[in-house]
Symmetry: C2
Subunit: 217 residues, 2 copies
DNA sequence: GTCATTTTCATACAACGTACGAAACTGGTA
DNA sequence: TACCAGTTTCGTACGTTGTATGAAAATGAC
């Protein structure tokens, strides 16, 4: 099989999915493709480009159902969930991309297109659409990153630290009492919680009943 | 000067602040300390431990003014700003820590202590304090990470992509019309925006007027 | 001064990304 | 068929990295 740019990316993705980005080596990648390491360099300029290519390739796979006429809250929730699904399909790669590929979201990606459309549909003035969309991407990616590398779970099962002076009854000396067992599904919950909070916050901003803080941006 | 664990961390931090984490080398670090590379290994088990140590060291520097009796909204805003200040003091290190040191926030760190205290003071039921706090940390770190690596600025100055079918008047063919010039201070603005949105969302959740979505967690 | 312990250093190795030039393969023309 | 220009593959090699190993030097107790 004749060694293609796309083939290299696909093989790289396979290896990354198995062992993570930092275990990816040009030599291993070549072995995976039954080729000499140096052969890769005729199709790809260097390792960094491989990672960029793989990231782009995966990003291009993103698809979302665009409920054109659903309320924007529902649409944005759906979009976020779809993005999360993609992140879960290639967790190692995405965790890497989030922090090392600052431009892995392109202006013409379906994700960005859909997001800005929804934000605009929500009633955000045209000049602020990008800011609000950027804000949402940063938040969603932040939560996903924390989820993918385990931080989110760890923090959410962290005890609010020992009361240095007794506060009220019910000491509860046991550090992990109830839910240290379950692992997966509470992440879904956390993600929904973030989205709901974010959406509610946006709603307030849009309908104008600010909590007493600065007026719009 | 006799080569200490703390001294190694301090030197590493100096190098990281200058050239970033990925430019840090055990050899450079040794040179910075006028020592042989292998001498470091008597005070530190390996490079990863150096990074962990530096991260811990910086994390321990965190200080916040705890306005004990201000409204929780103000307190949490302040806490987040203090955290952001710390992140800006060592941007390279923090950007690294966010993604590579999943446990860089410890249960007894002043940051976590303050955060959970504030969340509890906001009226979040005891059993949900950790989740809400975790959520906030993930969001704040996500935004800070995006800010530190330039994503946030890039996204927020991204044009909502070209309308494929004309939507309404005012074509505005010019891609960047007004604000591509300014660079720094709009980050402050974005950060405040996120915090306000988040806080407003939490307020709604706490006062019970959910927007028609699921009841509390 | 002697000796045990701790700290420093010189050397060396495996693994990495990749520069360089030679070999092998390819398709088109005669 | 033979030839040849261009593309693709590969062998070898260099510089850099983290660090294992053991020798050398420094240090402190007696």
């Amino acid at each position: 099989m004749p060694l293609t740019e796309a083939g290299i990316y696909a093989a790289a993705l396979r290896l990354i999915d198995e062992d993570g980005v930092e275990a990816l080596t040009m030599r291993k990648l070549a072995t995976e493709l039954d080729a000499n390491p140096m052969s890769l360099y005729h199709h790809v300029p260097n390792k960094e480009a491989v990672l960029r290519g793989v990231t782009r390739m995966v990003g291009a796979q993103f698809r979302t159902v665009t409920l054109e006429d659903a309320p924007w809250q529902e649409r944005i929730r759906l979009l976020a969930m779809d993005f999360r699904t993609l992140a879960h399909r290639h967790p190692e790669l995405m965790a890497y991309s989030f922090s090392h590929q600052p431009d892995f979201i392109q202006p013409d990606d379906p994700f960005w297109t859909a997001l800005t459309a929804i934000v605009a549909a929500a009633g955000v003035p045209r000049s602020e659409v990008s800011e609000i969309a950027a804000l949402m991407v940063a938040v969603v990616i932040g939560v996903l990153a924390a989820e993918l590398n385990g931080s989110l779970h760890q923090w959410s099962t962290l005890k609010p630290p020992g009361p240095d002076d007794a506060e009220d009854g019910d000491g509860d000396a046991n550090p992990d009492s109830a839910d240290t067992a379950s692992e997966g599904p509470d992440q879904d919950h956390m993600f929904r919680l973030v989205m709901d909070t974010l959406i509610t916050g946006l709603e307030s901003r849009l309908t104008g009943d600010r909590g007493g803080r600065d007026a719009g941006l």
